[in-house]
Amino acid sequence: MAVYINTPFTTADAENIKAGDTVYISGTIYTARDAAHKRLCELVSQGKELPFDVKDAIIYYVGPTPPKPGMAIGSAGPTTSYRMDAYAPTLMDMGLRGMIGKGKRNEEVISSIKKNKAVYFAAIGGAGALLSSCIKTAEVIAYEDLGAEAIRKLTVENLPVVAVIDTMGTNLYEVGRKAYLESQK
């Protein structure tokens, strides 16, 4: 099913999405990958304020290429998500509602997704040129020293993603493969 959402991404929106749905996201999302997650979680452990409000937010695991003159951003597809597994539950406990990446998540992340009513989305890995066309503005809001890994505030229009793990913990990587294999019997 195709679902269109606008940020902020509320619990009600999240509960409306099922694993396998194609979801088009519009509004504000934030980029963060390995190094930025490490810093965000250090701030949390020190009880300090984060550079953006994570409540009902969506984080996109991406390190874009530099924009050419006149462009908002360069190519911007997802990076592999499991490297953020150590940090994701902390952020979900603070209200993070959506994550966009690609690839498997561990059991702790899946439990946290269910507990916090969040959704894990996948964008198409290796489709950075295509995904970039849905990003209208990009602004570095923290950790500029990290270059591609800095935190950017993005305005997106109909960014196409697929819901992989929904609020019930249903996992497309398992059910999608199983359904295909059963269709071949």
Binding site: G63, G74, S75, G77, K104, A122, Y173, G176, Y180
Partner: protein
Amino acid sequence: MREINAADITAAVSRLCIEANCHLPSDVKNCLKQGRADETWETACDVLDKIIQNYEIADKNDAPICQDTGVACVFLEIGQDVHINGDLTEAVNEGVRRGYTDGYLRKSVVKDPIDRVNTGDNTPAMLYCDIVKGDKLTITVAPKGFGSENMSRIAMLKPSDGIEGVKRFIINAVEEAGPNPCPPIVVGVGIGGTFDKAALMAKKALLRPLGEHSEKPYYAELEKELLNSINALGIGPQGFGGRTTALAVNVETMPTHIAGLPCAVNINCHVARHKTEVL
């Protein structure tokens, strides 16, 4: 003795970094189109359509196909009758520096694996040099993304594991990787040699055009069999389910020790980039 100037090497490497990152080789495009034609699962068809659309946009806009423009793997085949005027390693690194800066490519290299401070210009290149006959210099740049590199595996199998052990190890590596390396993937395999030679063969196997099989008939058959087995796993494009898990399996082999059966699997995503120039 033929003379080649370091500056010409720098210019070629710079061009190749940009070209390889923005334009997918035609054999990879053909494989993706064939994969789409053979695919029956709806979600998988949709993903493959978007992957094809993506490389078309990259071609049209001279844009990086993927944001992970990789670590620059640079393969040099240096003719033994060539003399390089200047510092070869520095010439290659300067080419990478210019290509990644002028081409608006992502700088993805950190200076120290623990300290992790970005070098800022994607240097150093991962440089591989072979001395060959003749008076030419062949330069291949293969930008390697790490989503797929991280899913690569090596095993020092026992001779008694035999061909069945080899097949099991390769298929397990692909199955464990699942959606992580951005399927449909290209599987590079190196069998034999030593620990390091097996890994290097697996990496070089990724440079062989897709659809071109091993010259050794036994291994050509193995490549076909492994591709069928992998595409029966059901992982599919991006791991959402479907037939097209791999585009090709390329196997390279060499002699090894009586006590060993090294086997390495180097995985590439569908953005199987590389470009070559001969000086």
